[in-house]
Structures are given as C-alpha cells and as structure tokens.
Symmetry: C2
Subunit: 134 residues, 2 copies
DNA sequence: ATTATAATGATAATCATTATCAAAGAGGTA
DNA sequence: TACCTCTTTGATAATGATTATCATTATAAT
C-alpha cells in the first residue's frame, strides 16, 4: 500500500509551481532550503514514482541531465541550442488535431499501438536569436 | 586541421550500414572484431564529431543509454515501451508538409528560430502489441 | 625525411542515477 | 494508546555512461 510522505508532497508541489524544467539536482537544492534533511535519493525516487503515475513528465534534453516537468497539459518543448533553456509551446487546437491525425495514420500503417507522442524543437530562442544574429 | 582516421571511417560506415540504432558500446563491441585495437573513447569521440557534422544523429531513448542513427533521411522514431526497440517511421510527404507548416507557424508565433524538430512516438510495437494484448 | 599537429588507446575522473540498508514514519488493528 | 507491518527515508556505496588526460602513433604538408 502506498503511503503518504511529506517529501513526495513538496517535490510534486514545487514542480507544479515552478515554470521551468528543473533537473533532479536543482530541485533538490531548492527544496533543501525548506527541508534540510531531504536526501537526493528521495528526490530521484519520488520523481520516478511521479513519472510512473503520469503526474510528472521526464524530459530528455539534448544537453545535460534529465529534466522534469510538472505541467502535463499537452504542450511541446523547444530547446535553445545557445542558452540551453527549454520553453513550453502550446499548439493551437487545429495544429494539435493535425498531429493526432498523423499519429493515428502512422499507428494504422505501422500496425503499432502508439499511446504517446513528443515533439522537440531545437534552435535559437528569442533572446539568443538576436544576440547571435547581431 | 581535421585528419583522416580509419577508426572514424569504420564507425561511420558501420552506422550507415546497420539498420538499428546502436549504443556507443554495442557499436564498439561490434567494431572490435574487425579492429581489435579500437578503444571505446575513440568511438565516443568520433560519434560526437559525426553528430556535430550532422552526418549522424544522436537519439535520447526513454530507456537506456544514448543511441546513434546513421540514417539522416527525414524520419521519426517509435520506441516500444515493452521490448525497447526503436523503429524508423517515414512520414508521407503530405504529413511531413503539415509538420513543417506547424514548425513555421510556431517559429513565427514564438519569435524563435527553429532549425530542427524531432518527433518521438511511444507505445507497443507490432509484435508486443499482440503479445501483451492477447 | 622532417615536422607540426590531430587522433588514438588506456585508463583515470566525473557526472548522473540506482541500489543497499538501518532507522524513522504511516496507517492500520487490538 | 500500544503494537505491528510495511513503506519511505537519508546516507552512502555502487554502478553505468561519458568525458578528460596524456603519452604514443598516424596523417598530411613541406
């Protein structure tokens, strides 16, 4: 039987309140301020658990360790190859619809059961675009 | 100045001939048969180099270490959550077109410069679908 | 052939993550 | 409340993947 833990609670809460996509370590450092006895293993354990429950999503960035996202509303990620920031992008309903259509077509054509899709974009974010370009 | 090396040649060649998406280690083990003096660091070094040149692509799988793909023709990846296999899926021209359209729209709306996109599907492959379901 | 420098292989070092395990906490039940 | 069982925790060792170091070898230009 799954039991309550204060640690799991604050990890989820923090992740849902943050607007960025922290690594396990940065979450750990942050939470240690309000719970100094917290251990890094507990953070990893709970992040894994929350991912399995589908409350949290793991992001495999191109650069650096895995990141975690407490926002599970459908959206895609853009990673800036210059500053490394990952920004959330919400597709319009019509765009979302096109994607799920393609997913359906592919599932049929390949005879697979596709239950999730992820779209990663890479390039230069607004800031870095102007900085790098001139 | 960049210099030729036999090692880099066989790494690229092997990757382009293989139809799977090997990890650095499995590539190393395989190539060691034809070149026993090959070192694992050389494999990592050259894979990184080839990725930077854009001749090879790195795949961050949900499970396990990074994989490499010698096929750079536009395609997307499907990872089976049961057997872990990664299969290539080629979108139809019209599907590809819809995606690049969305990419363009997003780039404008977000004021970013998006130069690459990756679509990642997850679920059950043909084999595992029938195995698990029935 | 000589020389400059890039690439290699062995291996140490690092980084991220997972495993282990004794102690503490949660959630029953008597 | 006291007790029991099982889960979770924190500390830390262990592991796995990748990168750094460095002496040696190979490449390519002169």
């Amino acid at each position: 039987m799954k039991k309550y833990s204060k640690q799991r609670e604050i990890i989820l809460e923090s992740l849902q309140n943050r607007k960025d996509h922290p690594t396990a370590e940065s979450l750990y450092i942050d939470l240690k301020r309000q719970m100094p006895e917290l251990g890094i293993a507990t953070v990893y354990r709970n992040l894994t658990e929350l991912c399995e429950q589908g409350i949290v999503k793991k992001i495999k960035a191109k650069v650096g360790p895995d990141r975690y996202d407490g926002n599970i509303k459908p959206h895609i990620h853009f990673e800036c190859k210059n500053c490394g920031e990952i920004i959330d992008i919400y597709l319009k309903e019509e765009q979302e619809h096109k994607i799920s259509n393609i997913k359906k077509q592919v599932s049929e054509a390949e005879e697979i059961q596709c239950d999730s899709s992820e779209i990663y974009l890479t390039g230069l974010c607004q800031k870095c675009k102007t900085q790098v370009t001139g």
